[in-house]
């Protein structure tokens, strides 16, 4: 049960390698990490020796001096949420592709924990992707001065970010609903601390005004399936004919509740989700939703972060610091004509034909 220092094999260090071929440790180090700093012949000698001795570089020693850790962190409010699975997948894949280790931290929807995580983490990783942060701008800005940071679904002046343009998508969804004759819709909001949720509501409000329909914001709701029941009840209570949910989890949760209460989807109530997470296509009915390129967002964020790190020197035109990814509306079975809609209205902006 002893590890690393058992009798069988002491850890072999860089100096063991150096000694074995009679060169200085610095030479070995360079051969291993600074291509072109040593002759090709020397490099081969070192590589061979290292291989034979089973040399395994100690990442801690390495990062201690170099400052680089070859790892990035992804900080999410809740690993439980399938939304973040896609993000995890994206960042993890890209990190690995670039030879970086991927540290995953869940802050459990707590701002304190998120703040603490950020400061603790900063010395031990090369950069951090912060998704759906619940922190105020200032805190993130502060953190970004201590460690390279990319935020996802958040916009802060001076901090690189990639946001998924759900507000625009929400408007699209609203158009879709209006074209089906809906005149009164509800937005079932996410956590009060969600920047994204506020943005969406603002976009919906504007669009509703333009379209001449009424929109209610209901909530906040925890972005979970369980909260979907409450959201469904609230929607019913508000007498709307269509719902825009903060995310698919809520929407899927509501589906069951609607069924329980005898509200047929989409005949009596149209339901629009957001994100198009795993499951949105095989729930019942399959969810009309805003397909968000989440995994892609993860990749892009990771790329941004790493691109920023490469910048060992000065120049290197700073990579894009702000990326907005479009969503698109995926229409499935959970949306349909408003109850009693005659289908007459073709130009939807004015609906006075009643």
């Amino acid at each position: 049960m002893r590890h690393r220092d058992g009798e069988s094999q002491a850890t072999v260090t860089i100096s063991d390698v150096a000694r074995s071929i009679g060169v200085a440790t610095s030479t070995v180090s360079r051969a291993l990490t600074k291509p072109g700093r040593v002759s090709e012949a020397m490099r081969q000698r070192v590589l061979t020796a290292a291989n034979e001795l089973g040399y395994q570089p100690n990442p801690h020693a390495r990062s201690l001096t170099s400052g680089r850790t070859q790892s990035i962190a992804l900080v999410v409010p809740d690993v439980t949420n399938p939304y973040f699975f896609d993000l995890i997948r994206g960042t993890q894949a890209q990190a690995k592709a670039r030879g970086y280790r991927h540290v995953l931290v869940d802050t459990e929807e707590s701002t304190e924990m998120e703040a603490a995580t950020l400061t603790e983490l900063s010395p031990s990783v090369d950069g951090i992707v912060v998704a759906a942060s619940r922190l105020p701008d200032s805190a993130l800005l502060g953190a970004s001065e201590r460690v390279p940071l990319v935020v996802v679904n958040r916009e802060i002046p001076g901090v690189p970010s990639v946001v998924i343009d759900t507000p625009m998508g929400m408007v699209q969804a609203l158009d879709h609903l209006v074209s089906f004759g809906h005149r009164s819709v509800a937005y079932l909001a996410g956590p009060a601390t969600s920047w994204s949720s506020r943005k969406r509501w603002r976009a919906i409000q504007q669009a509703a005004r333009r379209l001449g329909i009424t929109a209610h914001s209901i909530g906040p709701f925890s972005p979970t399936r369980a909260a979907g029941a409450a959201a469904a009840d609230a929607a019913i209570h508000h007498g709307v004919t269509a719902c825009l949910f903060f995310n698919d989890l809520l929407a899927i949760g509501s589906l069951q509740r609607f069924a329980e209460r005898g509200v047929r989807v989409p005949e009596d109530m149209s339901v629009v989700g957001c994100d198009d997470i795993f499951g949105a296509d095989f729930c019942h009915p399959p969810l009309t939703t805003l397909t968000a390129p989440i995994e892609h967002a993860g990749r892009v964020a990771t790329d941004m972060l790493l691109a920023g790190l490469q910048t060992a020197g000065i120049d290197v035109p700073a990579p894009r610091q702000r990326e907005k990814l479009p969503t698109h509306l995926t229409i499935r079975r959970s949306t349909g004509p408003a109850p009693g809609w005659t289908g007459l209205s073709t130009n939807s902006t004015q609906g006075n034909q009643a």
Copy 2:
């Protein structure tokens, strides 16, 4: 864009703290990490000073000397698979609860990558949880000599493990099907390298013999939703009336295919999944499946791993090295009576009443 060494604030080290209150660095170090090794008064002084100066211990320096890294890794073949989400959740939660960092690595179903990961990772983490390994016993055994290891869903003499007892569950599922009059069932197998899949098939085979029914093993299939279509087709081709799928992903994937081909579930075909992942309860029809305590498995594995680490000294009775977690059958809507079954057979072991 400079970090850590900007003009504003150089990193404050242990010796800064020491100097600020006029003590030796060793004292500060001990005050911070060895409770009781210094007087309470001194401890307070150090803590205060550290706080004021904004001291942030450098984890790499710390692990370099101490050997401890305060982080564990979870190695999975595919982060894409919802099954592993639950595992990730479990290990992540438990790791955090114990103050450990959680490193996530995806080996992309590749044995080479898994092997490489294990060796590279070993110096940089305190322990590793390896889930659904695709590696041969010997490789895992070897790795476990270099770094504390816990395997999930795998049994190897000498390596601590936690397995979910799906074979037993499969037998239960088979009983369930037989009680519904099914006489010919298929097991839609997972990857050929999956230890778990082989185990299950063996259990099914035995049980089928005991029950006097026929069971076919079909596959291997990649454990993905996409492969579900092929699995469904194969099942239809074999003329069985019920399917036991390697996992829910396959089962869910098959559901759609069955629908496309006009095979009604459960009227024409009963479907049993495995794992009860996210989505199994709201797909259509909701899946009868083997509910596996995956997240719990993650927690238990992490606990085992960490318990092993605490053992700084000798004694401390080695914690349980082998844990088998039971599954239970969750019956939903995807299973039903075999087509044409009259329901006469009450004692199911002999079915000669035709």
